[in-house]
Assembly symmetry: C2
Homo-oligomer: 647 residues x 2
């Protein structure tokens, strides 16, 4: 730490070349709660943050004084500017407590921007409100490495998730209403008339005509059979994959029966709710590259097959335009700031198992232009590197065209000891003493997990810097051992970080190493090409990244391979829905196992988002509330207007 502190005093006084003024931290010991630090944080007006980042007032839609949305046409304006360096923060296989990826992402940015005088942007995910009111634990980083205002970050922000909820559920209502109307109106001729306005077709109807090979300018040009094909979707109720969503931990909605009202009699069915961030629309928000691309992706979303087995899309339903209208503001990235005043985009937050778990492509693209050639964009990928980084590369980078310059692998001594055979780590329970006392043996054994992740990153051609997110009970010998083993495994280096306790000052060595690693020549490559068969893609990930000997498919999965190949969805990348707590499908198997067989229970498709997701085990897409949920501590201080009890 002494070294870092010195480095800092040298750099802090250096005048930034970008007009950027760092926000000075007043570090307290003991470190106060996250919300206390966040509320004591000095906020620059977001207009100043924007201007320092190279944005103009007309590029912004302000949402109060400390948040703004950024118009996408910034991308056109800066099209010719070279991109900055692109840094992905990932982690080893984590404990259930998490290893501090977001804290590292924020703290590293603070180090680069506020201490090394680099142009920098942080790009991270917007969290779901479910955990905010369910489990105590924020997603804005922690300690002195946070995004502020953390209350806005963890609550409505600018309403993007609410827009997704609205769009997702409008589509769900439309599906059930359409089935009811198709069954109720048995006269094909009359139904066709009802579905047009004065016999004119909508754009969506014309799109469906093109797909079905039906020609005509108005309804009168169509045969009865064509009218039937055009207007009756003949949705197979059993094939519906579209669920309703709510951004709340409401476990009683996991499986429900709808349509029990007197006026819907005979139109009941079993369905369920997911939490909003599991919606395909969230994955689309994260992967889209323009308004036109989002409109097209929303149109391509498949919600069911018809009774003849053909895929039915949002476009067939005639709802893709309305969904785009609901999402037109959400597509703009949200500008916020870190505790040390560096700029941050908080945008999109899809699930990291059934989806790819990354913040938005658009935020990264804009940020890379804004920081320019000499600058750095620090982003984060969900879960451990076996899932997060692999999807970052093979899904996100594939759709964005961007390539990373370096990866930061976050490790904790605690997690490595767990991988070495330490007792189970459980949230809310006191840590076993092997975690709070020096134990080089467990650490050495557990470092195999870190080594596998480092080697995996190198398969993508990405240089890896290890960030040791250290705790007060980690010993110098333990940290030195991790540093040695990391370098032996192929990392550029490993650095002790105290970002939680010291903010950017606690990550100066890491930041310097990242700068060095990112300046190396690029040898980036995808893990697999898109034009190989579905099974071959799955097997490549399983063997190359997880260390599996082979893959076992259930009959359902085999059937889906066949179905998706027949429907032409086999050219999509693969998004493995696997536990993040192990390289295998079993959360309890730690370390770096090999020789196992990875079971594929089923395969699902997010055609609009653009990936197939094999289910490795059961994925929960709707959390529950505990006996004593976090909402019990949350209230508004009526005197100050400040939120209390948030974390």
């Amino acid at each position: 730490m002494k070294k870092s502190a010195k480095a800092k005093s040298k750099t802090r006084s250096r005048k930034s070349t970008t007009g950027f003024k760092p926000t000075k931290l007043k570090l307290l010991i003991p470190v106060p709660s996250d919300i206390a630090i966040a509320q004591a944080g000095k906020l620059k007006p977001i207009l100043q943050v924007a201007q320092e980042a190279g944005l103009q007032e007309r590029d912004l839609e302000l949402y109060g004084p400390y948040k703004a949305k950024v118009h996408l046409d910034v991308l056109q304006r800066l099209a010719k500017r070279p991109n900055g360096k692109y840094i992905d923060v990932t982690a080893i296989t984590p404990t259930p407590l998490g290893e501090g990826k977001t804290t590292t992402t924020c703290g590293l940015s603070q180090a680069l921007g506020a201490h090394l005088g680099k142009r920098v942007f942080t790009c991270i995910r917007q969290p779901s409100q479910g955990p905010t009111f369910g489990i105590k634990g924020g997603a804005a980083g922690g300690g002195y490495s946070q995004i502020i205002p953390m209350e806005d970050f963890n609550l409505h922000l600018t309403g993007d998730i609410h827009a997704i909820t609205a769009a997702n559920n409008l589509m769900a209502a439309a599906i059930d209403a359409r089935m009811l109307h198709e069954r109720t109106h048995t006269d094909d001729e009359k139904f066709a008339r009802l579905m047009t306005r004065n016999g004119e077709f909508t754009d969506a109807q014309r799109a469906r005509m093109a797909k079905l090979g039906i020609k005509g300018k108005t309804l009168a040009d169509l045969s009865l059979e064509d009218k039937r094909r055009l207007f009756r979707l003949d949705i197979d109720p059993k094939s519906i994959t579209w669920q309703r969503v709510v951004d709340i931990n409401d476990r009683h909605l996991r499986r429900i029966q709808i349509g029990l009202g007197d006026e819907e009699q005979g139109h009941d069915r079993i369905t369920g709710y997911d939490i909003t961030v599991a919606s395909e629309i969230m994955a689309i928000l994260a992967l889209t590259t323009s308004l036109a691309d989002m409109r097209a992706r929303l149109g391509r979303m498949v919600f069911a097959t018809d009774t003849r087995g053909a895929a039915l899309t949002a476009e067939d339903l005639g709802i893709a335009g309305a969904l785009t209208v609901l999402m037109k503001d959400a597509i703009m990235p949200n500008l916020m700031q870190t505790l040390e005043g560096t700029p941050a985009f908080v945008h999109a937050g899809p699930f990291a198992n059934i989806a790819h778990g990354q913040s938005s492509i658009l935020a990264d693209q804009i940020a890379l232009k804004l920081v320019g050639k000499e600058g750095y964009v620090v982003t984060e990928s969900g879960f451990g590197a076996d899932i997060g980084m692999e999807k970052f590369v093979d899904i996100k980078c594939r759709y964005s065209g961007l390539t990373p310059d370096a990866a930061v692998l976050v490790v904790t001594i605690r997690a490595l000891k767990m991988h070495g055979g330490g007792p189970k780590v459980v949230a809310g329970r006191t840590l076993d003493k092997v975690y709070t006392e020096e134990n080089l043996e467990l650490l050495t054994k557990g470092a195999a997990n870190m080594a596998r992740h480092i080697q995996n990153a190198k398969k993508f051609g990405i240089p890896v810097v290890v960030a040791v997110n250290s705790f007060k009970y980690d010993t110098p010998a333990e940290i030195a051992l991790v540093q040695k083993l990391a370098v032996e495994a192929g990392a550029e280096g490993a650095y002790n970080c105290t970002l939680w306790m010291h903010g950017g000052k606690g990550a100066i060595d890491l930041a310097k190493a990242v700068v060095a690693a990112a300046s190396k020549p690029k040898h980036f490559k995808f893990l697999y090409p898109l034009d190989i068969p579905i099974k071959q893609k799955i097997e490549t990930i399983a063997k190359e990244i997880y260390g599996a000997a082979g893959v076992d498919y259930s009959p359902e999965a085999e059937a889906k391979v066949e179905l998706y190949t027949r429907l032409g969805f086999d050219k999509l990348p693969i998004c493995m829905a696997k536990t993040h707590l192990s390289f295998t499908d079993k959360p309890d198997i730690k370390g770096a196992p090999s020789g196992f067989t990875l079971p594929i229970r089923d395969i699902r498709a997010s055609i609009g988002a653009g990936f197939l997701y094999p289910l490795v085990g059961t994925m929960r897409t709707m959390p529950g509330l505990s006996t004593r949920p976090a909402y019990m501590d949350i209230d508004l201080d009526l005197k100050t207007g400040k939120i209390k009890g948030l974390f």
Copy 2:
């Protein structure tokens, strides 16, 4: 019209005394679609609108360039300023097409502000997104009398309705989770420990202790029996009145069975969804007068009774603080503008049957201070005057302490002819020719409906000005007849208005008459005092306002009268849930019927909002989607970024 046009040219050039610059309209004939007019409308930056209205930059939270939330502390700053005149726009018993209340509200404001040089504020409701994507038809006014940007108005606006959805559904999830946990944890001692953090009580737990007469500082001070009473709510599942909500027309959610998942087995129950604007939290948003008041009202919301028959509240559930946090931004009124650049608050939009159907008290209070002594606040009450105005007076004004200075009763020749016996008016069908040709006989007969509403308003001591919202096929003789009959019934006058076609210019005579009426001495009174029995309040409304001879109570209603009296809820005002299409409970009975018996099917309670609502017939709280819903026409023009097909 000629007279109005002249009056306008005189006043338009007059320099406003307030620094207000009207936005000039370019009136086109034929009148374009609402969205075409709205998108062609010149928007002032909202900061300018705010400054012209007397607000400072620090009073605002900007939401993009054309919307802003206004901080409530404006009320403290302006506390000593006298209020402006308070004008309520209401209507006769409408046809299903609506008679143009919002158009009149906007156009009258435009006339007062842009043509007569008065300080003015429009205060109206935020519409639900359900109808926006369901039935074609906006809620932002129409023609040249609208609130803009109309797309924002009809879509997310600043997220208030989304916040209500989130808060309402968090509470719903909490109720079901609590029942599950109380049943699962059978050990009282252990359950009590789980419900505290280190044995400490939350504020909500202390509030429940006070209510139950339990004393103690920590868990250790309590007897097992006290722990049991404190932590076990013993919710009677059959008594739960709290529904989930979604701001979408999703009829399949009207009645559903939840908790069918494997892990919730045995915890299933039948419940349903309402549209979000039917949530009690929406009614609270509309009736609250401060952050502290909202916190208290949210805490008082009753969601069920326990197995011993005691009312259970959000405070008992420990969730009122979290709900307040979710609603802390929504409580601030949203500033927008009319097509002629006068300021408007768009804030809250509760149902007009099961709730009171009025925009927020806080918006009115702030607006009345901002316009000051010589100014005018024009607000609107939902449905016809028998419901809207009565609730405006007896519920909204009672909670706000504000009293209206004049009422504007909107009539159409079309609706009066319908009341006189004209054929049924159905949305989407061509009007019968009695409505498009002169027919003084039907009109004379139908004017009895208008007369009843005028006389009702006078029972509250409010002077009434009639606004004839005229159509191109209304004849001069018809308009003159309405004017004569209105004055005979006690109105201050009746004025031909062409607000749809001409904006404020089409309501100058009306505006002048409103100015004159509002300057008369006040004789305002409530219809009933709060301290009479529930039945007496219901009967007063039924007889005095509806013209009923008496009231008939179902056994359920009788039981509720008894229950609510026992629980101490009998001092609340009454919010009749009755059809707006008739003075009676039967939508088909037009005109001004009397001598009928009003049936009360049941009585429900919104204790947090602060009213009891007797059900006169069945009220639908979740609309459906038609065979061809509006969403089919809605899309984004990818070249211009503009919304098309909205209305």
